[in-house]
């Protein structure tokens, strides 16, 4: 049901109060792909007594339904999806709370649709333009600050991924920043990606991760016996990498 509704714009998240390591291992071993939160105490505020428990939230941020996942009907979900926005999973997208008018409207839209590089150029032009009104300059400065904040967040996260040996994931972010932004932001990201790829140890992690991704793709098509063999291959051929650890974890998680 979730896949069908995800395509229609339903955002599905799984929330646990457990600690990050426990959740991380579980997510890895079960191959879960949806966004999962750890260390959340929200279940208290939501009055959750037993789990699993589902809460459907409407486009106005109000609870539309709360109860057992097995009792949530498609009809209820369809109702809530009427007029719902589709959330961009593009991590470059920067939602802008109040859609500004006039000259700021287009850059704000670019930000929200995942083109912050384009937005940044336009906003700098507005900010530097002597003919811009005070309001326009202030508005542009605010939006530029939001872009800078988001770029910093992405850079920090990417470094975190690389540090945790999720190198491919980190590179995805740096490559995207390099492609999207010209100037110092893009250049810095490009250099970082190059340095990572040149690093011997990190290159091994990348190779392992790519092999694991291929194994996962194939596993989806093969029967469980052949799939297990693919993961075992990753464990054997990419020893010492995080990918090998994750493959081992998946082997433990998958019961034949």
């Amino acid at each position: 049901m979730n896949d069908e509704f995800a395509a229609q714009g339903l955002v599905v998240v799984a929330v646990s109060d457990e600690d990050a390591k426990l959740v991380s291992d579980y997510v890895d071993s079960m191959g879960i792909t949806l966004p999962v939160a750890s260390g959340s105490r929200a279940s208290g505020a939501y009055g959750v007594k037993g789990i699993p428990h589902s809460v459907l939230i409407d486009t106005q941020g109000k609870v539309a339904w709360s109860g057992s996942p097995y009792e949530l009907s498609k009809g209820t979900v369809k109702e809530v999806l009427k007029g719902a926005k589709k959330r961009s999973t593009n991590f470059l997208a920067i939602p802008v709370e109040k859609e500004p008018e006039g000259r700021l409207a287009a850059p704000a839209k670019s930000m929200a649709s995942g083109n912050p590089g384009k937005a940044l150029s336009a906003l700098r032009a507005i900010s530097d333009d002597a003919k811009s009104t005070e309001a326009e300059k202030v508005g542009a400065t605010t939006l530029i600050a939001a872009i800078d904040e988001h770029v910093k967040l992405l850079n920090d996260q990417a470094e975190g991924f690389v540090g945790a040996r999720d190198v491919l994931k980190g590179l995805t972010v740096f490559d995207a920043l390099a492609k999207e932004f010209s100037g110092p932001i893009g250049d810095a990201a490009k250099k970082r990606a190059e340095d990572i790829r040149k690093d011997e140890k990190l290159a091994k992690e990348i190779a392992g991760a790519e092999a694991l991704a291929r194994a996962q793709e194939q596993a989806a098509k093969l029967g469980s016996g052949k799939a297990k063999a693919k993961f075992q291959e990753v464990v054997d051929k990419h020893k010492g990498t995080r990918a090998a650890e994750r493959a081992a974890s998946m082997l433990r998680g998958k019961k034949s």
Partner: protein
């Protein structure tokens, strides 16, 4: 009096057990403002921590669960 009261509660209690169960019986009531998720860490996600205030305009299904 006490016995009557106790019997009364027992009766109500057994109603709940037997299955007087509406979707709203367990947990927050429909119509209420959805509380923030306040997660420490997000997996399978890049970017700002997912929070209801940056999901405005989206319909969200929150699945509360655990690894056990």
């Amino acid at each position: 009096m006490k016995t009557l009261l106790a019997l009364g509660f027992l009766a109500l209690g057994s109603l709940a057990v037997v299955g007087f169960k509406s979707p709203a019986a367990d947990g927050i009531q429909p119509g209420a403002e959805a509380p923030p998720l306040n997660a420490k860490t997000w997996f399978n996600h890049i970017g700002r921590p997912l929070e209801l205030d940056n999901l405005g305009g989206n319909a969200v299904l929150v699945e509360f669960w655990a690894t056990w």
